[in-house]
Amino acid sequence: MKNEELIDIIKSYDGPKLRIMEVCGTHTHEIFRLGIRQVLPDNIELISGPGCPVCVTPVAFIDEAIMLALEKGCTVCTFGDLIRVPGSEMSLAGARAQGGKIDIVYSPMDAESYAAAHRDEQVVFLSVGFETTTPASCIAVSMAEKDGIDNFSLLTANKTMPKAYEMLKDYVDVYLYPGHVNAIMGNSECIELAKRGVSGVVSGFTANEILSALAAAVIKVREGKPFFVNAYPRVVTDEGSPAAKSIMNKYMEAYDCEWRGLGIIPGSGRRLKDEYAAYDARKKYALPKISGKVNKACRCGEVLQGLIKPSDCPCFGTACVPTHPVGACMVSGEGACSAYYQYGGEL
C-alpha cells in the first residue's frame, strides 16, 4: 500500500487515546527522521521505550568495565556508543584518558581476532545488546574455544525483550516490535504475549514499513481484543533463526538482570553458563559486586518507561546534551533523549 493510503488509515482512528511504544532505537531514530509523529492524529501517541542497548545498560556495568581497564590491566573492546556513557565516577572515555586501553570494535568477532593477534594482552569485550547482537557474542566465544584463545572474555549485559514488554504493559496499548529481534527469535513469544493481553505489531524500518505497522495497529485495535500482527513478513518468519537461537542456548542462560532506570527484571538477562566461566570476565577476574551511583537529577528511567518526554527532564538540553551526556539516553544516536535533542523536539 502507498504511504498516503496508510497515513489515511492512521488518521481515520477515532477511538480513545492510543499509546504505541516503539522499543527499538532504530525505530525511535527513523520515526524522528521521517517526521512520523506529525502525521498522527492527536489521539495516537508514540512513546519511545527501552530498546536501545546503550540506554538500558546500568551504571554499575560501566564501573565494572572501567575496573577491568584501570585496575586489572585488561584491554577493553567495545562498541563505540558505550565510550561516552557516564559511570559512577567517569565514562570509558575518561578511563582511556587515564591510560586505560580501550578500543572500539564493530563486532565481538573483531575483539576475538584482536585477542588472537595479541596473546600478551587480556582482552575483554563489552557484550551489550538484545537478541540481535547476543548470538554474535556467542559466536566469538565459540571461535575462542575452537582456536584455544584463553586471553578473551565477555563482560555480559545481554538482555531479552519479552519480560520488559510484560513489565511495561500497563503504560502501553500496542507495542511496535523491533523487526530484527523477531527475525532472530521468531513470533512465538509475541503470540504468547497476545494471549496474556499484550498487543503488538512487528515492524520493519523503512517509512512504508513503519506506516504499515501503525495502520495495522489502528485496524486491529478497533476489534477490541489483544492481537499480534507480523507487518514485516519480508524478513520475519514465525520460526525465526534456529541457528542463532541454538548458539545462544548453548552458551547462555537467563538470569534476573538490572536495566538502567527500570531496575531488576526477572529472567530478562543473558549470561554465560557456568561451564563457560573461563570466558566470563566477572568470574575470570573475580570482580566484586558493584552498585553504581546514579545521577539523581537524570530522569532516564522515566523516559525509558514512557512516563515522561525527554524534554520534561530538568537536565535535558542544559546539563545534558550529546557532547556532555548525563544519562545514557542522550549518548547513543538511538536514545530517545538524543533523538529529541537532534531533531529539536517539535517544529
Binding site: 527499538c24 532505537g25 524522528f32 517526521g35 563505540g80 564493530y106 545488546g129 538511538e334 531533531y343 529539536g344
Partner: protein, 339 residues
Amino acid sequence: MNIENLGKTVTLAHGAGGRQTSELIDSVFKAHFTNPYFTADDAAVLEAPKGRIAMTTDGFIVSPQFFPGGNIGKLSICGTVNDLACMGAEPLYLSCAFVIEEGFPMDKLEEIASAMELTAKEAGVKIVSGDTKVAGRGQVDGVFITTTGVGRILEGVNTSGALAKPGDVVIVSGDVGRHGCTIMLQREDFGIEADVTSDCAPLWNTVKAMLEVSKDIHVIRDATRGGVGTVLYEITGQSNVGIHIKATDIPVDPKVKGVCGMLGLEPLYLACEGRLVIIAPESESEKILGVLRSMPYSGNAAVIGRVTEDHPGRVIMETEIGSETILSQPGGELLPRIC
C-alpha cells in the same frame, strides 16, 4: 635524472637541504610542476592580475593517501582550486608544502606529484613554489600536503555565504557524500565491500561555465568536510535565513545510500570533494542547471530546495512521507549504530 637514482624510499637526507634535496626536487617535483615561474629562487615572481584577487590555503592529511577516485595529491589541488572557484576566482598560482614521513615509497611520491600535475593542468593553475620537509618515522602519517592558491575574481561576480535570499533555489552539483563514504570504507574495518569512488574533482571549469551564463549567483560553496548538510547550516547562519530541502530531490548514489543505511549515517553529512552548493534566484535556475548538466562532474545536478524567511538558522527537510522535520546536526564523531 630519473627517480630510480633517488633510492626506493624518502630518507631524512632528502629533507636536509643538501644535494639529495635538490635531486628530489628536480626529479620528482620540478619534473611534474615545470613552468616559467617555478624557479630555484627563494620566491616565485608573478604578474599581478587586474582587479580583485582571492587567496586560500588548505592542509591535507587524508588517510589512506590513495583511494578509489584519487589520491592526496589530486585532493590537494582540487581542495584549493575549488575554494577559489567558489569565490568566482580563476585559479592562477598555487604553492605546495610537503611534509613526508621518512621511509615513504619514492614511487608513491612520484604518483602523487603526477596526479597534482594532471589536476593542476586541468584546472589551468600553475604550481609556482614549493617546500619539502622530511619528518622522522611516526612523526607524520605518510605524507601531508598544504597548498595555497591565488586567483583572479571575475568581474561582476560577488558570491558569499551571507548573500542567500528568501525565494532563492538551492542546487547541488551532483550526488552527495561519495568522498566521505569512499574514505570511510577504505579506512574502517566494517567488513563492507562496496564499489564506491570518490567524487574528488577540480571544479573551476564548471564554475566558469556557470558564470558565463549567469553572474546572478548569490552563493557558491564546495561541500567538503561536514558535507552538504553542514554547508547549508552555515549559510542559514551567515545569511540569517531558513533553508527548506526535499529528501526525495537529493541525489545520492544507491551504493552510498546502502552503506549509510547499514551504518546509520546521513549522506548529507559525508564529505564531498567535487560537489558545489549553489544558491541563486529562481529565474537563473534553469540556465544554471542546463550548464551544470552539460559539464563532466555535474551531470546529475539538481535543485534540492529553497531559501525561506521562516525558521532562520534552521534547515528543514521535507521527508519522504511528506512531513517536515529539522535536519538534525551531527554530533562530533561518525559512529555506526549498533542495533
